[in-house]
């Protein structure tokens, strides 16, 4: 697909002009500067850009790129880096379109960078009031605009060419306990966006917004209210602050209009006695039919009923076709912070495989006043940037964390607006603070190979069709493995902690791999060196 031709640039210029006079319909404006609905539908086969947070609607970070191979990967070099002005934990999924890379920082800055040179085209600096852990996972690019959802509950539209604000709207019901961290997902004229509030006393929802003006098209609450199925899984009024936030990415099957989401932990996080029951749909994957005016639940699968350890399924769902016992099946993968990796039947939610990827201990306990140890801790298991599937090896690659925690709960909880609603405290870290890169055979659910790291691993995974799989480490190393054998083929020290997922694309006949790095934030462990070169975007290519 050729994108950067003169006619398109001309159109983009015309679009700017028409924006200024505010008379041209949005459809004209949208061409060129941002992807169209058709582009999104065909993102899985597009190698020249990276237009959705996890490449395409399946949520699988797999690109059919062929230039960088296991044979030549040793020559891979950083061709440029861009130092972010906002130095903090950096989890952005880079979006690449038309020669521009769009990334975000923890405090909701947006940077538009020239993909070739790393030169800054524009920067939008928000710096909203933070009630939580500062994090932003990226932007949406559609309708002529860049969309960022912020830490103070705003959805902001910026002109994709200039970074100038087009509109800005508060989209959460309670700004003292709800905010946004995920990248909005453009889908059939809507922006899908889930709310983050699962440890602060809100209840989760996924909403569809109109990209034109931010008005809410529909909202689906993740905790069933009175009269709805599943409401009886909450004792008393506990559902009202039940959590089940929508923190991270989503997967969509456009053929069936099915939206897959993994919902967050119940609240108060560490005190189960005040919310007796299974606490649906916390710690569950839900499949929603979003073809109608309002979503309807197709199925749900609860990974950990009545969780008391903040072990939510942080990994964004990955939808893929894998071979199980010699038969091709449509599957959806998930993983949780308790260290479980799950493969479900995408059509029915039936459990196909479960694999344990982190050290587990004491999972049957509940935190009490004296304190007890359970593994993993709240930063353990599989974290927010998940893994990727390789159709050629039929293997799923996912990093994981082995950390244990000492949990304590005083047995009571008070809601304080704007603060954690935990019924206890986040666990004390007690080790071993290591990580693994896990290759799981989809056919059997067993390990194809595992690579052990000396530190926790949270960097996501990227598979390219030459049999390479990339991941980043807490110590700043960016790694390429042989997908088949698990052999480490290449390693590059970026200089700061990698928690972000990589993206890859072709431009001007060259394959580029891009990854963000920054401060470790709450992923800090005593074993990690305090030396840190700051938050940056690194882009790699062959010489």
């Amino acid at each position: 697909m050729i994108r950067s031709n003169g006619w398109k640039r001309l159109l983009a210029a015309a679009a700017l002009l028409s924006l200024a006079s505010a008379v041209a319909p949005a459809t004209v404006r949208a061409q060129g500067s941002t992807p169209t609905e058709q582009d999104f539908m065909h993102a899985s086969t597009d190698t020249s850009s990276w237009i959705l947070p996890a490449h395409d609607y399946s949520g699988n970070r797999y690109a059919a790129l062929t230039q960088i191979t296991p044979k030549n990967v040793l020559e891979l070099k950083r061709v440029w880096k861009y130092q972010l002005s906002d130095d903090a934990p950096t989890e952005t999924a880079p979006i690449v379109w038309n020669g521009t890379i769009y990334v975000t920082s923890a405090h909701d800055h947006v940077y538009a960078l020239d993909a070739q040179t790393g030169k800054l085209k524009w920067e939008y600096s928000d710096n909203p009031h933070v009630i939580a852990f500062a994090a932003n996972r990226g932007i949406a690019l559609t309708d002529g605009n860049v969309y960022i959802a912020t830490l103070d509950g705003h959805l902001v539209a910026l002109n994709a060419e200039t970074g100038k604000k087009v509109w800005d709207k508060v989209e959460v019901a309670d700004t003292s306990n709800s905010f946004f961290t995920m990248a909005p997902v453009p889908y059939k004229g809507m922006l899908l966006l889930g709310v983050s509030n699962g440890d602060w006393g809100g209840i989760g929802n996924i909403s569809a917004f109109d990209p034109k003006d931010g008005h809410r098209i529909w909202q689906w609450n993740t905790v069933p209210g009175p009269g709805e199925p599943g409401h009886d899984t909450w004792s008393g009024d506990s559902w009202k602050r039940g959590g089940a936030a929508v923190w991270s990415g989503v997967a969509i099957d456009p053929a069936t209009n099915t939206l897959y989401m993994s919902l967050g932990n119940p609240q108060p996080d560490f005190l189960g006695t005040v919310r007796k029951g299974a606490n649906l749909y916390s710690n569950s994957m839900v499949a929603l039919d979003i073809s109608g005016a309002k979503p309807t639940l197709k199925w749900h699968y609860q990974f950990i009923p009545h969780d008391t350890h903040d072990w939510d399924p942080a990994m964004p769902p990955v939808l893929f076709t894998g071979k199980v016992n010699g038969h091709e099946e449509k599957l959806v993968a998930a993983a949780d912070k308790a260290g479980n990796f799950w493969i479900l039947d995408a059509a029915t939610g039936r459990l196909v495989h479960k694999a344990v990827v982190s050290y587990q201990q004491g999972q049957g306990t509940e935190p009490d006043a004296a304190g007890n140890i359970a593994c993993p801790n709240t930063n353990g298991g599989v974290e927010f940037n998940g893994g990727a599937f390789d159709p050629q090896t039929n293997v799923f690659y996912v990093p994981s964390v082995s950390e244990c925690g000492l949990w304590k709960s005083p047995g009571r909880v008070t809601y304080i607006a704007g603060q954690f609603y935990l019924g206890g405290s986040f666990p004390k870290l007690v080790g071993p603070n290591t990580g693994d890169f896990n290759a799981i055979n989809v056919s059997t659910g067993r390990f194809a190979w595992r690579y052990n790291f000396n530190l926790p691993a949270v960097g996501g995974a990227l598979v390219t069709s030459t049999g390479l799989v990339f991941t980043g480490e807490l110590n700043g190393d960016f790694d390429a493995f042989d997908a088949e054998s698990g052999r480490l083929m290449w390693r590059y020290d970026t200089g700061s902690t990698i928690e972000a997922p990589p993206s890859a694309f072709m431009m001007g006949g060259k394959e580029y791999v891009v990854v963000a790095s920054g401060q470790p934030g709450n992923q800090m462990v005593p074993e990690l060196s305090k030396k840190n070169d700051g938050s940056m975007i690194s882009v790699f290519a062959l010489p």
Binding site: P89, A132, A134, I416, G418, G521
Partner: protein
């Protein structure tokens, strides 16, 4: 309305007393304004009486229009300008400027009327002029507040007659009858309660009646605005109460060292937050205020949940020192009593909000340095 009248009657009050006399030059603002009001009323009466006649000749109509022009142009407009000319801004300036525009509009319409050949055209012009005059006189708006000359008259010191006792609207009147004013606004007329007959001018606008002590209070439409002004004046003149001293400087210094070791990784060297939220300064305090956090809430967050990777790992003495450092960084004053090692019931009543009288060392962040 009926209730209002009944109350007025009960107070033995006579509304609609003597009409103000036309003002001579050098008269008071009140008299000038009252004269302007009388002029406008006279002009309206002149036109309306001619309209009500049965004359078929244009002569009496034209005579009425000419007389009205003379009254408005030579009287009301001159008087309003007299009130407007001297000082740039009075509480009634904007209102009178509006009235003036309406008066000039009325004069223009009346002059046009004199040029018309057809009776219908004359009547159209005169109707326009009458509407303008009514506007200049003042009509009750949707919010129940008068505009125009009567509005200015009933809500500002223009309504205070010569010799009327003027008191500050910010407190109860020391004696009655008295006009309560502040900054040129007329908030109330206080009258003795009882059978005594008191005459109040026809244009004194009563919005609300109340009996306070042994006085009948006739509050004007400017009463609420006056009360707000009084609060502002009080806030400006009284120094704000200083925030209570909750910790010692030595504690804050010790807390600074603990913070640098245990907290700085997530909350940042300038306390503005890297991975975690800001814990001092404008951003933190505005959020705390919005969420109505008390000192008790803040202490619970620190003592129960921090440090994030090892909650509860500091000694009670160390937690008190960290609290002292946070309070110091948020510009709370130091004192001689140390921050206690255990929570106090009184903490629930101490709000975490920008402390009164604070002078941040870092104006941009709103934080203070421990010295």
């Amino acid at each position: 309305m009926l209730r209002t009248l009944a109350l007025v009657a009960a107070a033995g009050l006579l509304l609609g007393g003597a009409a103000p006399a036309p003002a001579a030059s050098g008269s008071s603002d009140h008299d000038t304004a009252a004269a302007a009001l009388a002029d406008v009323r006279a002009a309206i009466t002149t036109i309306v009486s001619a309209e009500n006649s049965t004359a078929t000749s244009p002569v009496p109509y034209h005579r009425a229009a000419r007389r009205a022009i003379a009254i408005v142009d030579g009287g009301a407009v001159a008087r309003v300008n007299h009130l407007l000319d001297r000082r740039a801004t009075e509480p009634w300036t904007a209102t009178l400027e509006g009235a003036n525009a309406n008066l000039l509009g009325a004069v223009a319409s009346l002059r046009q009327a004199l040029r018309e050949r057809q009776m219908e055209d004359y009547q159209l012009d005169v109707t326009t002029a009458l509407a303008d005059l009514e506007m200049a006189l003042g009509r009750t708006s949707q919010t129940g507040v008068l505009g125009g000359l009567r509005g200015a008259f009933s809500t500002t010191t223009l309504g205070v007659p010569d010799g009327g006792r003027v008191v500050s609207a910010c407190g109860p009147p020391s004696a009655v009858p008295a006009y309560g004013t502040i900054d040129g606004r007329l908030a109330y007329l206080a009258l003795p309660l009882g059978p005594a007959r008191v005459t109040v001018g026809p244009d004194f606008g009563v919005q609300r009646l109340a009996v306070v002590g042994h006085r009948l209070m006739l509050y004007t439409a400017a009463a609420d605005e006056s009360a707000a002004l009084c609060r502002k004046v009080a806030a400006a003149s009284d120094p704000p109460p200083a925030a209570a001293a909750l910790y010692t400087l030595a504690q804050a210094k010790a807390g600074e060292a603990i913070f640098a070791d245990k907290c700085v990784a997530c909350h940042g060297v300038n306390l503005q937050g890297t991975a975690a939220p800001a814990v001092a300064g404008t951003a933190f305090l505005s959020g705390a205020k919005q969420n109505t956090w008390s000192l008790s809430d803040l202490r619970a967050i620190v003592v129960d949940n921090m440090p994030f990777s090892d909650p509860g790992s500091l000694t009670p003495k160390q937690y008190a020192e960290v609290m002292a450092f946070l309070l110091a960084s948020n510009c709370y004053p130091a004192g001689t009593t140390p921050f206690p090692e255990h929570g106090q019931a009184s903490f629930a009543a101490i709000a975490i909000a920008p402390p009164p009288g604070a002078h941040p060392d870092n104006a941009a962040l709103g934080t203070c340095t421990v010295r």
